[in-house]
């Protein structure tokens, strides 16, 4: 029986690892262990580990890693704690595969640990571009990973040019779109009731994270976005930033800007986030969901600042600098009927037919685990 260790560090990624875990569970030839860490275990983020427990998934490890302080130095030390702990976890679990995703440091630690311990590493969302430290991290994971799952042709081509073997590059599509394509999101009535919203009126969804390279500027950047939101006074649901350096100051600022037309949420389940995106009139901030998921829903995304600088984008994205009047203008434009009409059937670099998770699991199940897989050569 092939045993796959899956790392999950936050609710955002857990949502699309869950269908993969379920498929593995249903397959008699496969088993998995879920290693839960970082944001999942923090009260500030609503203890999202409880969602995993309710789902009944097989959590084998809870790795507490996040040092308080949320500075660049604590980020590094926190990752060190994770790396230390993963070494022990892999010795005990003896997995046949390590499955990681995205562009976060947590995934890089798992890839490092796996590659050093002769356990093949598979990486979802390989080869995409993202700005700042996340982009560096994604490509560093590629170096340590033995299998690369690409979300679109553009990402696959980048992996090829990075010198990765053709057979290691699997163009499967973007698994985070599976649920959206299948319509498996919270329906509008549920969203309206849960957040006390009137969906006949415009709804803004705000998700803005601090940017590591711009440490110390996050508060002023967030202030510009919040000023724009306060000027327009549309009903707004704002989701707290992640645990990157500077995030605690951002959370306090957001709490201070709280107005009666706003809802603040520490964290929402992925199904609810999908429902919010479906119900929203525009997404504001710097979340990758504005570029990856939003096009599938024809949702306009006001992308603020540099965090997503290098990421491929569809016509739903309006790029603006950290400037309150530019952000407010872009929101007004996004809410116009003309803009929304122009998005119908827009092209997106991120593709899904609703069966991406199946293809990932099938490949993990069937690829021979042998010297060819484990001995990587990077050929230019």
């Amino acid at each position: 029986m092939r045993h796959i260790a899956i790392l999950t560090e936050a609710r955002s990624s857990y949502g699309y690892l869950r269908p993969i875990a379920r498929l593995i569970e249903a397959d008699p030839e496969l088993q998995y262990s879920l290693i839960v860490t970082n944001q999942h275990l923090l009260p500030d983020f609503g203890y999202s580990v409880e969602e995993i427990e309710r789902d009944g998934l097989n959590i084998t490890d809870r790795i507490y890693m996040t040092l308080d302080g949320y500075t660049p130095a604590t980020m590094v030390k926190s990752l060190g704690v994770l790396l230390l702990s993963l070494g022990d976890a892999f010795v005990r679990l003896q997995p046949d595969f390590v499955l990681v995703l995205g562009d976060r440091g947590d995934s890089l630690m798992a890839a490092l640990a796996g590659a050093h311990m002769n356990i093949p590493v598979a990486h979802i969302q390989a080869g995409e571009r993202s700005g700042n430290i996340d982009g560096l991290t994604r490509h560093a994971i590629t170096r340590f990973a033995h299998v690369h799952f690409a979300s679109g042709p553009d990402a696959a081509e980048r992996l090829r040019r990075m010198g990765e073997d053709e057979w290691r590059i699997q163009l499967v599509g973007a698994p985070q779109l599976d649920e959206l394509v299948r319509g498996d999101v919270a329906p509008p009535e549920e969203i309206a009731e849960r957040f006390e919203l009137d969906l006949t009126e415009p709804l803004l969804l705000v998700v803005q994270h601090p940017v590591t390279e711009e440490y110390g500027e996050g508060v002023e950047q967030m202030r510009e976005t919040l000023e724009a939101v306060c000027e327009l006074r549309h009903q707004t649901v704002l989701i707290f930033p992640n645990t990157d350096a500077g995030s605690d100051d951002l959370r306090l600022l957001v709490e201070r800007y709280h107005r009666p037309f706003m809802r603040l949420e520490r964290n929402v389940p992925r199904r609810v986030y999908g429902g919010l995106m479906q119900a929203a009139s525009a997404l504001v901030g710097n979340s990758s969901s504005g570029l990856i998921e939003a096009p599938a829903l024809n949702l306009p995304a006001i992308n603020v600042g540099e965090r997503q600088r290098d990421r491929a984008r569809a016509p739903n994205v309006i790029d603006v600098p950290h400037d309150r009047s530019a952000i407010a203008d872009a929101i007004r434009r996004a809410l116009s009927a003309e803009f929304r009409a122009g998005l119908a059937n827009g092209d997106s670099p991120y593709v899904s037919d609703g069966r991406v998770s199946e293809r990932i699991v099938e490949f993990l199940k069937t690829v021979p685990i042998d010297a060819r897989l484990l001995r990587k050569q990077i050929a230019y």
Binding site: E255, R256, H258, P260, R263, E265
Partner: protein, 114 residues
């Protein structure tokens, strides 16, 4: 009547322990988290109980566990405030300005004398 709000408010960095003490003394099961005059959230005795079950310490700051979207009212008319309180079924309803500055609290019942 000017109400003394000090037993009904804590700051975001105040501890769960202090919140619980004020909840115990104000007899209304809830305190309002206020920063520079503005309402950030509320903490109820149930929130503190759940935090303890999650192995939070008495020194944990209330900002980590507070409810972020408390029911508040901007009503100035006493009868409408009362109606809002009953509608929301809370024991403490913060009365705020349009800018979310705490002005008063509407209480479900008058506290018993000690």
């Amino acid at each position: 009547m000017e109400r003394d709000l000090s037993l009904f408010t804590v700051g975001p960095t105040d501890s769960l322990r202090l919140a619980m003490e004020k909840i115990d003394r104000n007899k209304h099961r809830v305190v309002v988290v206020v920063d520079e005059g503005r309402v950030l959230g509320t903490v109820s005795d149930g929130d503190v109980r759940r935090a303890y079950l999650h192995e939070q310490l008495p020194i944990t700051p209330v900002s980590q566990i507070m409810q972020l979207n408390p029911h508040v009212t901007t009503e100035t008319d006493p009868e409408r405030r009362r109606a809002a309180l009953l509608r929301e079924r809370v024991t403490v309803l913060p009365v705020v300005s349009e800018d979310n500055v705490l002005l008063d609290v509407e209480l479900a019942y008058e506290p018993f004398a000690d």
